[in-house]
């Protein structure tokens, strides 16, 4: 087999997560494709944890629906993840000997392995995760040399003896595998390729910011976005920039706006609760036309909701936050690599068009680690439109222009002095309560939005060229659609997918063309109330009779098989129509 999913589950000290890391790192170094996710119980330390690694020789786009090889150090800890971890039909299960599997699992091929005892024997009782890694690698044919290097790297800062003992334990696990006898599961096969980078969506976002020239970040920690703050806190100072952890999210976006006003590319990042708090200041950035990038990593909502789980339910807040008519741009990313590109696009648009731009990610993208080709982390960088000498003759900050974009001076620039505000204002920035000024300035700001819509048409389009069923989805659902089409085999030839990357303004024209080319439409999203569907209804012309919606609450990722199932009745219905 060329596509394998492993899961390790245990208590805090069991090293389930480390085992996943080692396998992932090793396989990435061989040029394989990896998607690795983790899950934890509510306890911060010492609670249950699970690590799931999907390895494939071919590009992959989402977690897989089911696990092929499961390692469980304790079934009690497994309990928390029962609903999240589905086992493939042919799955094999390794568990601590004596801790017998629950009934639902026992029907699979299960091996009781004395992990703790073997590890103790081999010299390090705590290293049962390394032992399990050896066992799995040996049994499935994973690249042993690469895993050995990965182990060595992992303990590089420890004493050589530690490395040695871990390698010994790993080998002990490999040896143990030989004694299992032939398995129903095929061996994993692969070709070696150029090593790939392995990073999380949050890290890719942060890299995108650095690439775009961001040199100021202000933020307040919040799951699942905090890694962006932490990464930039480490790297910005090296690059001559600064990270500021503020007292709250209002201050975070406030400082971001201030830094941008002063001429530095700036960003903040948060999750739903923080985005809600930023609503008022988003409006300020919009009316004062200050480039402001806000990354929002969605988690389960509403309110504090499910902080460690994924959902696509901050769409409304991203698109509509703030009172008044407040144009802004919203860009979504659908996987780790796109987190990089979406962030650079966000800066480009923010800077050129002087908008607040929201990048929507979600927990499943932000916190999974995925392989990325280094060469693909390139993206054109665009800069602010500064006033030229002619503009500075009698400079007017908000002078009207055909596309609504007025050159923006920055403090320090002689001749560029202006006073701005969040009140409605005239071309010079002076407060005005005049209806005429208000109408003209609303128009100016929405003209910019039109200009963005004309210039940027960011979307994914894949699957059938003339689809019977057209699927419209966004963000992390896009990867699941890729997987679903793959799963469907021939039937996939009847399904096409359109997924806007730019959510506001939508690439309306392209989307409408797509819609009009399909017999029926299925909207897919991870939101109980179907926010995306409602939003689409307001923006494009969906055929009411021929549109259906597959949406549900988050908390559990969308599965490819769910989508395949949701598509079935539509495909049948269409066929019946053809027959009729």
């Amino acid at each position: 087999m060329r596509d394998l999913t492993l899961a390790f589950v245990g208590a805090g000290g069991d090293g389930a997560v480390a085992a996943g890391d080692i396998v992932a790192s090793a396989c990435a170094s061989k040029g394989l494709h990896i998607i690795k996710t983790e899950a934890y119980g509510p306890q911060i330390r010492g609670g249950e944890s699970s690590s799931t690694v999907r390895v494939s020789g071919e590009p992959i786009h989402a977690q897989s629906d089911a696990v092929d090889v499961l390692v469980v150090f304790s079934w009690a800890d497994f309990g928390r993840f029962r609903d999240e971890i589905a086992l493939a039909d042919k799955a094999i299960v390794f568990h601590e000997r004596g801790d017998e599997p629950p009934e639902a699992i026992a029907s699979r091929t299960c091996f009781g392995v004395p992990f703790a005892a073997l590890a103790r024997e081999a010299g390090a009782a705590g290293a049962k995760n390394v032992l399990a890694t050896g066992l799995v690698a040996g049994a499935l044919g994973l690249p042993l040399d690469a895993i050995r290097s990965a182990i060595a790297r992992r303990f590089a800062k420890k004493a050589p003896a530690v490395i040695e003992s871990n390698l010994r334990i790993f080998d002990r696990g490999v040896l143990e595998a030989a004694s299992l006898g032939p398995l129903a599961l095929e061996q994993f096969t692969y070709e070696t390729g150029t090593p790939k980078l392995l990073m999380s969506g949050n890290e890719a976002t942060a890299l995108g910011a650095i690439h775009a020239g961001c040199r100021f970040f202000a933020g307040y920690p919040i799951t699942p976005s905090t890694e962006i703050l932490q990464f930039l806190g480490e790297w910005l100072p090296k690059l001559g920039g600064s990270m500021l952890q503020t007292e709250d999210e209002l201050s975070a976006i406030g400082a971001t706006i201030g830094a941008s006003f002063a001429g530095t590319k700036a960003m903040t990042a948060t999750s739903g609760p923080g985005l809600s708090l930023m609503a008022e200041l988003l409006g300020l950035a919009s009316i004062a036309e200050i480039p402001t990038v806000v990354v929002n990593v969605q988690r389960g909502g509403p309110s504090t909701g499910l902080p460690t789980k994924s959902e696509q339910s901050d769409l409304f807040q991203a698109v509509y936050a703030s009172h008044g008519d407040t144009p802004r741009v919203v860009i979504a990313c659908s996987d780790v690599e796109e987190s990089f590109h979406a962030t650079v696009d966000a800066f480009n648009i923010a800077e050129e068009y002087q908008f607040p731009v929201i990048v929507l990610s979600d927990q499943s993208i932000a916190q999974r680690r995925q392989t990325v080709d280094e060469v693909r982390l390139q993206h054109e960088v665009r800069d602010r439109r500064y006033p030229g000498p002619e503009d500075l003759q009698d400079y007017q900050r908000y002078r009207s222009r055909p596309d609504g974009v007025s050159p923006m001076s920055v403090p320090g620039m002689a001749g560029g002095i202006y006073q701005t505000n969040g009140l409605e204002h005239d071309e010079q920035g002076r407060p005005s309560a005049s209806f005429q000024v208000h109408e003209a300035m609303n128009q100016k700001r929405f003209d910019k939005l039109e200009a963005v819509a004309e210039r940027y048409r960011l979307f994914h389009r894949f699957g059938a060229e003339r689809p019977e069923v057209g699927v419209i989805c966004w963000g992390s659902s896009v990867g699941v659609l890729h997987e679903a089409l793959q799963k469907m085999g021939e039937e996939a030839g009847r399904v096409g997918v359109f997924a806007p990357i730019m959510l506001a303004p939508l690439p309306r024209h392209n989307m409408q063309t797509f819609i009009d080319s399909c017999d029926s439409i299925l909207v897919v999203e991870l939101s109980y109330s179907g926010q995306f569907h409602q939003y689409l209804l307001s923006q494009v012309d969906l055929p009411r009779q021929a549109t259906s919606l597959y949406s549900r609450s988050g908390g559990k990722p969308l599965l490819a098989s769910e989508i395949v199932k949701a598509l079935q009745p539509l495909l049948v219905a269409n066929r019946m129509e053809v027959l009729a």
Partner: protein, 287 residues
């Protein structure tokens, strides 16, 4: 930089203040003009940030870069400006409601971080712009539009708060005394760190025409011999016996936020060249 010295008029925009006749904020504005001119701050290298309120209209009248932002948010924005462009002279200005009610938390944290800006609070003991509701500075018991039966809350002393928050320069001036206030403002701007200047700036519309007289009567000068580096003494002094003490109350030297961030850059870079793209990406390479 231009070489001709700047006059007070160079700092004036052609916008006519919307303040009521007799409002204390006129005096503060005049002091701002004079202080900037006396210190010869380049208009284009100066930024005045405010929140929302009558007083927060001030940046519109000062011919430097200016930002009349949102109610309560002047300090986060000013912090962003200063960190992004440390060479600028940054003034944050606003009302007592703006700075102590809705913006109180930012006040605390900007002071604690010792952001190198000057914060001018026009204290009129009321919400002026919204037409006369109680502010955190409104004396207890006073009737206002929102306290029909008298203000049930204890009033705060902005200077005492500023000291407790960790401001490294704290002073008080009176808008009726443009000259004295100008001098204080200059000291505040020259101070290296977070300088808080409480400006008693009467609202003649909602607090009454007699406010200039009434507040002037409460004022007294910092006594000779006050050790302004003595925090406890400053705290004791600021509003003892129902008096308001004008002058420099407190001053200390402490590393500023920008200095800290610069040091961090130094430590992060360890004197080396900036990391290249390749170096950054290498941290994600599995091999």
């Amino acid at each position: 930089m231009s070489s001709a010295p700047h006059t007070v008029n160079d700092y004036k925009t052609d916008l006519k203040p919307v303040w009521c006749p007799g409002c204390g904020d006129f005096g503060v504005l005049n002091s701002v003009y004079r202080a900037l001119a006396d210190l010869q701050r380049e208009p284009h290298e100066t930024v005045v940030v405010s929140g929302i309120g009558c007083s927060s209209r001030l940046p519109g009248y000062v011919a430097t870069y200016g930002f009349n932002s949102l109610h309560g948010r002047a300090l986060p924005i000013a912090t962003g400006v200063k960190v992004a462009a440390p060479n600028l002279t940054v003034l944050a200005v606003g009302g007592d409601g703006d700075g102590i009610a809705i913006g109180g938390n930012h006040f605390m944290h900007a002071a604690r971080r010792n952001v190198d800006i000057t914060y001018l609070m026009m204290d009129n003991e009321i919400y002026g712009l919204t037409k006369g509701q109680a502010a955190p500075t409104t004396p207890s018991g006073d009737r206002t539009k929102s306290t029909t039966y008298g203000n049930p809350e204890q009033a705060v002393d902005p200077c005492a708060l500023a000291i407790s928050f960790g401001s490294t320069w704290v002073g008080r001036g009176f808008s009726g005394d443009v000259k004295g206030t100008t001098e204080l403002m200059k000291l505040a701007i020259l101070h290296h760190g977070f300088a808080f200047l409480n400006l008693i700036s009467p609202c003649v519309t909602w607090r009454g025409d007699d406010q200039f007289k009434a507040l002037r009567a409460k004022l007294r000068a910092v006594p000779e011999g006050h050790d302004r580096t003595d925090r406890a003494a400053a705290l004791r002094l600021t509003s003892e016996d129902d008096h308001l003490t004008a002058g420099v109350l407190f001053e200390e030297q402490r590393t500023t936020l920008v200095e800290e961030l610069m040091e961090i850059r130094g430590r992060a870079g360890a004197g080396l060249a900036r990391p290249t793209r390749g170096e950054i990406l290498r941290s994600f390479a599995p091999a």
